[in-house]
Symmetry: C2
Subunit: 706 residues, 2 copies
Amino acid sequence: DVSRDVNEGLIERFIKEVDNIQIQENLRVLTSVPHMATTEGDEKTVQFMLKRWRDPDSGLDDAWREEYMVYLSFPNSTSPNKVTVVSPSDTVLFTAREKELAYEPAQNDPDVVQPYAAYSPAGHPKGKLVYANQGKVSDYEYLNTTMKVDLTGTIAIVRYGGAGRADKAINAFPFGVIGVLVYTDPLDINDGRMSDVNETYPHSWYMPPSGVERGSFTSQFGDMRTPYLAAKEHTYRIPEADIRGIPPIPIQPIGFEDAYALICELDGQAAPADWRGAFNCSYNIGGPGFRSTSSYNNSDVKLDIYNKGELRNSSNVMGVIRGSVEPDRYIIYGNHRDSWVHGAIDPSSGTSVMLEITRVLGRMVKKGEWRPRRSIIFGSWGAEEFGLIGSTEYTEEYYSKLRDRTVAYINVDISVFANATLRVQGSPNVQSVVFTATKQVKTPGSDSTSVYENWIRFFNRSSPTHGLVPNVAFLTGAGSDYAAFLHFLGITSMDIAYTYDRSKTKARIYPAYHTAYDTFEYSSKFIDPGFTSHQTVARTAGNVLLRLADSLLVPFNCSDYAEGLEQYLSVSLENFSDSLATKGISLEPLKNAVANFRTAATSLNKMIRDSTLAKETPLKVRRINDQLMLLERAFLDPLAFPEKYGYRHVIWASKSSPVPTFPGLADAFARAQESNLPTDWSQVHKHLSIITQAIEGAAYTLGDVI
Amino acid sequence: DVSRDVNEGLIERFIKEVDNIQIQENLRVLTSVPHMATTEGDEKTVQFMLKRWRDPDSGLDDAWREEYMVYLSFPNSTSPNKVTVVSPSDTVLFTAREKELAYEPAQNDPDVVQPYAAYSPAGHPKGKLVYANQGKVSDYEYLNTTMKVDLTGTIAIVRYGGAGRADKAINAFPFGVIGVLVYTDPLDINDGRMSDVNETYPHSWYMPPSGVERGSFTSQFGDMRTPYLAAKEHTYRIPEADIRGIPPIPIQPIGFEDAYALICELDGQAAPADWRGAFNCSYNIGGPGFRSTSSYNNSDVKLDIYNKGELRNSSNVMGVIRGSVEPDRYIIYGNHRDSWVHGAIDPSSGTSVMLEITRVLGRMVKKGEWRPRRSIIFGSWGAEEFGLIGSTEYTEEYYSKLRDRTVAYINVDISVFANATLRVQGSPNVQSVVFTATKQVKTPGSDSTSVYENWIRFFNRSSPTHGLVPNVAFLTGAGSDYAAFLHFLGITSMDIAYTYDRSKTKARIYPAYHTAYDTFEYSSKFIDPGFTSHQTVARTAGNVLLRLADSLLVPFNCSDYAEGLEQYLSVSLENFSDSLATKGISLEPLKNAVANFRTAATSLNKMIRDSTLAKETPLKVRRINDQLMLLERAFLDPLAFPEKYGYRHVIWASKSSPVPTFPGLADAFARAQESNLPTDWSQVHKHLSIITQAIEGAAYTLGDVI
Ligand SMILES: [Ca+2]
Ligand SMILES: [Ca+2]
Ligand SMILES: [Zn+2]
Ligand SMILES: [Zn+2]
Ligand SMILES: [Zn+2]
Ligand SMILES: [Zn+2]
């Protein structure tokens, strides 16, 4: 029993029992009403999750809720945010749409929240309009310096993309901009299509003219008033004024229909070609302000923003299956539960998949047919849309035990962006188990092609070790709830979804993302009719989960981690070596560290290969498994990025530099190259030492234990 | 074999084989020449340790050296530091002794380093002398404010005690003091005795008039130029100018003979009674400067300091005995190897004990008679005297694997301060294993009285759980190499020694401490004739080591940790509750956290009691052992004390407040009470939340694993 390995028959049975119609019905219930974090609709989904996970026939061993008092931001329902064009005599010449146009009853639900920018301050800025492309620092600089536009007192209109949501306002502020409008250009989301007569939803999956992407306008994750502390009622909170990373000036998202009405009336020079979207006008940058021939001549754009920060009770729903042999080892599988509106794709496509996985596993547990070797924890996180809050508070509260016991975190948020191919992001050491699982699961609608065979056609790379393989992308961002697990806790993580055929669409993301159109009907019609891609993700993620939970040997290949480090190293050598040499800084120590890591990984793998683990003592297997589990932790340095909340992983932390290599090194190098200050070159040296020490430390953990 | 428990017969045999004469002979070799860090003498001790640990009959499985390039500070041997009294016409009226008087040949060794203050800057300050008691902030304030002495441009003379070495200069600087002399008053070290004719060494253990305590004048530990990074040759170093916690002005230690000649000539008012030491004069505070009737009238005191910071190669010597069942669990036993001069007591009394322990254990291993369940790592640390450098660099380099695998750290630095009683400092959970061991070892020179029975007469307390027990003191400082293990890594640690009968002496420490008199002859004559107290410490520490290494169940009692937390809680409630209530800050959450910890500890202990561990699966025993091992780690918060290098343990970190409770809370409370600023009260709330979360997190780790 102690030496029991994964049961392939059980995995086959699991694959067989995962049912697309069950997923569809899960989704129908989850999306019956809007369920924005902490609303009544959210509470309904809490109850639904609890009911399902407590089901006597298909529930888990235990399920409960955990609450946190977190800082959210909402518009005022009785005094909605307004965007208007106001003449010098204070006549309102234009009013942007307050709510998206409804094409089906669900979209008319009074609980559909008005499009807004969460964490935008309230305020009533009024000024001449300018077009500022994507709101990057370079965009405002270009307007200011090259185009000689005085931005003081202006309202900037920018399109989504290129910069983070909050950054569009944060970047604008130093130039004197007093308010920002943001919209989704049809070029970026609709492959250029604009008309709602036949081109856009409900005629296709494309965003209709009134569609607006909501979002959290913050550049850090977790509850912003309780960094590093779980947001209990009694917990110390930093003052609202001390919150960093949120817009210093009001910002509001609008539909492209309204954006068109404003941008195409602007005065001033035509924007550079790469600033232009799909509108049939020249995207003038603004006088500032409108053309003299426009009916808006001399008029200002005014924002009336009534958003308010509030402390609200947000719930995670937790469920567990207790491990039989190593209950103190956890595989965590999670997704957020809260949406902006109905959230059929984001996040309920993931939640309906999670519920199907727990149904199938729960039945086996309840029947006494199976119990995993390790414990499985399921998390239905709250308030992700506001900044990964529920999952982050969870990691803060249970830091110690999660850090010491968690083998892996699997995140399936949007399970199906589109139905073309699998897409996996994760630590390099998960590659092998993902490959094993995907070779065993068939691609939707096929009895012969595996997910793996399909995947490799869409995303592949040439591995020095394995040859041509599907590309498991590095998990470098904070795009969903894996962030706190990977970056803060150093837990090996992955994010799994089905996604686009990029030869068919250039859309930034599926066009209903964070709009009122992200409904059950939209999903079942345009994203995954028949829900077979959902089913494929459930089979794939569940298969990975079972292998992680049941394998005698934790199925991580540390040599694949070495390959990832070698890739980063070669980029660093190529991009930084020469410049650093002139500053007397050598990359040799880093090179040696990566080589030591490779050697340690090779010898651990040889030791594993040379052992018959089922015949070894349980403590020897446990020792190797601990080495594999704790490897990721060795890359944590809680002081490496003092300015970035929660980022402690020196390999996968976020960065500003586009060079695909170690983040601290890349960013320090970019800064030093720009300033050429000796103190900045010292910081490059410092980050080099931090990374080198982390990799050496990781190599020690893989080496002989004594 | 997997369920093998500690063998009591083996422990009895160990006790029997520990030999006082072997310890004496170890000490003789270790102290044959001065062995200050990185000197030739130090290298000799490296070679000696390696020879002993590689001995084919009594050595360890493996032994090696590890080197770090660390920042040390030395006087200039060709241009020694000078302290003089200089008349207005530049005549030198007085010169302080440059070296201590030699009473035996060893003390005449040319390698006896001149007394100096390591890390004092070089410089040549000259000014009127003032007497500033112990150099505390309050002492300088008293002079400045109450006594109306203008300290600008003065040289302060202060006595050891009351404030850290570096602080005496750091505190002086803001008052305009330009140089500091420090000496040991006979009241504080010699129970008042001063004469070398018959009262002091070589006639007794008391410090002779020319004796000077050397020391490191820094208030942080580890290599000061590489915080958080192991000091490899290639490692990034902060600029010397950025080093914090070292004296901003020159400081130099002198003997009390010279201090007497200066202090008793001072002008000005007599010092307050509690500022006075044993000199037969009134400790005038200085005009500033000397009395008009003194031959030093109008003269200045001048310091000529030539200290220099240098990067030097310092070695740790490491040795291991590989564990048979759980090689990936470490018990670390260590002591520093470097001394200021011959260091017979500090540190060689500890090293000679460590070598006797390794001799006895090594023989059993080499004969194939025994191999511990867990691995034992012995560390002979370098450059401790300069600031716990070798041990700290070791923890920085191997952070990840030490953090995940170390069960406990045992420190035996000065093993025998005096031969009256055992003294143990440690985490509360080591109490039980120390009690077990001390009940089994006899006190020196007795066949019947146990160390425990003797100990309880000198240090005891009333435990709510156990009744009257010997007092294991909390390990709150950074007095020796346990600091990085406990405060930085969160490893359960203890420090063991034999010490004074406080009814017989009030000496701050044994009087030869850090002087040229700390020799083999001094130790064998005045500290431990026959070396039986050394033997007793070897037996006790070795017994604890064996129990930690061999017990099936890690012998930590987590309920004793609860008692420690409850003690701190009650002090907080008593001292802070009322004031905090008026600020709307409640201690209830902290109270609940401590109660939850107690409950979790009780239930884990019940589970242990109800199990027959030898019959349980190895993985269940390992799980409980992991809970016990990792408990201490749960108290780490790397961001709790951003200003204090290496202090991450929120229960045992150093503090300024004298209130014996949670350090962050005590210090924040003291600050807020003084300033009464709302932002400072907020910091109290913040620290309360940090401590509460850490204790809750620790309780979770003790609870059911899922
Ligand atoms: Ca928080
Ligand atoms: Ca260091
Ligand atoms: Zn999502
Ligand atoms: Zn989302
Ligand atoms: Zn010492
Ligand atoms: Zn010392």
